[in-house]
């Protein structure tokens, strides 16, 4: 089971349906692999149900139920929905390692998928750190939420393995290193560009949007 989980406030915003689509995707991918967080979300969903019950009720217009019944008669009877591809497969359509990666510098490749999430301000990127590779030291100007999709990376804060959920803000400086024998692939949602802090890599800052 995953060792790094979203905090309760993030799960609450997920349960309430307030997270942006890319952040909801990170949480959902984590939930699919983490029974611990699923049980936390179950409780939060129950909280939503009880709060809904405590609100005023608004009566429905005459004939509402009949209108629904009429729609049911036009639709096939209840049956199991067709199996859907996993969310990630639905989004990317193929194997993670076969994506059109763009080599950024050194051991890092990126694939910007922001355009798959219209109507929201954050940048959404897949990042690949080659096995054994090291990313330049950097901090963040905003929040960065990362989900490990493959492999593992280690930094000053610990080791992050597949399906671990990592939330960083401008106070975290880190130098991730891919550990293990696989390339480390992450899905990151960035609310502002990262800022390189290394002595030489700082010069690259304008290039890392």
């Amino acid at each position: 089971m995953s060792q790094h989980h979203p905090d309760s406030l993030t799960l609450m915003e997920y349960s309430a349906g307030n997270l942006s689509e890319p952040l909801a995707l990170c949480v959902r991918l984590h939930l699919d692999q983490c029974p611990y967080c699923r049980s936390r979300v179950d409780m939060l969903d129950s909280l939503g149900a009880v709060l809904m019950e405590h609100q005023p009720r608004v009566s429905l217009p005459e004939g509402s139920f009949e209108a629904i019944l009429a729609r049911l008669d036009q639709t096939p009877p209840a049956s199991a929905p067709p199996p859907r591809p996993a969310p990630l497969q639905a989004l990317l359509g193929r194997d993670l390692n076969q994506l059109p990666w763009k080599r950024q510098f050194g051991d890092i490749s990126v694939l910007d998928i922001t355009d798959r999430f219209p109507d929201q301000p954050d940048r959404v990127v897949l990042q690949k750190l080659a096995a054994g590779g090291k990313a330049p030291a950097h901090t963040h100007r905003g929040n960065e939420t990362t989900l490990v999709l493959q492999g593992a990376f280690a930094d000053q804060n610990g080791v992050f393995r597949q399906w671990d959920f990592v939330a960083l803000d401008q106070h975290h400086e880190h130098t991730p290193v891919a550990v293990g024998c696989e390339d480390c692939i992450t899905l990151s949602v960035l609310s502002a560009p990262v800022r390189l802090t290394g002595r030489f890599t700082r010069l690259l800052n304008p290039f890392i949007r």
Partner: protein
Amino acid sequence: MMDKTRSAPARVKERLVTTTDQNPTRTDSPRDPWGQLLENVGRHQDRAAYQALFEHFGPQIKYYAMANGLASHADELVQEVFVSIWRRSCLYDWRKAAASTWIFTIARNQRIDMLRKMRRTRVERSVATDDLWQIPGEYEDEPVTSLHRLMSEKRVRQSLSQLPEEQLTVIAKVYMENKSHQAVADELEIPLGTVKSRVRLALNKLKVILQDQDS
């Protein structure tokens, strides 16, 4: 939900005083009455059960839609939610979620879906709403769920009334008006940190927080 009393009408007449003991609607059972109705819809396309669910949950969902800025689409949302309940009821398993919890998540997803469709730009949506927001129990192959999942709703219901007003206000705005913690802070003109600490206090009291790594 009256199955037992219907199947033994004579005995019920004789023992009217004690029937509550056998009544399947009793609230201390993890199998809540709404869950039973929902299963009847799923298994037998039971329209009477479906109507009972509609009369109970329809007005709640309408308020939910109105509080969420969907006032002019509130009746439409109720309709979408109930069509979805009908279609999915065969997937409902009372051991995995209380009926009201399951219905809340369907209402939430239909609201998100409706807003996504309204905002829809030229770009196709690449991930379906239900792939982003999970309906409890639907796509899990877990064996029969632990009791705490079933009892969580009961516990939340019992402890919600003991929450201080200021904490209740904050979590109600997050859930019912779909405001982010930041938006709640802006509206109440209090710092974001205060909103977050009220939420944490509330979740602690509701025992929703099992363990937070960073708090």
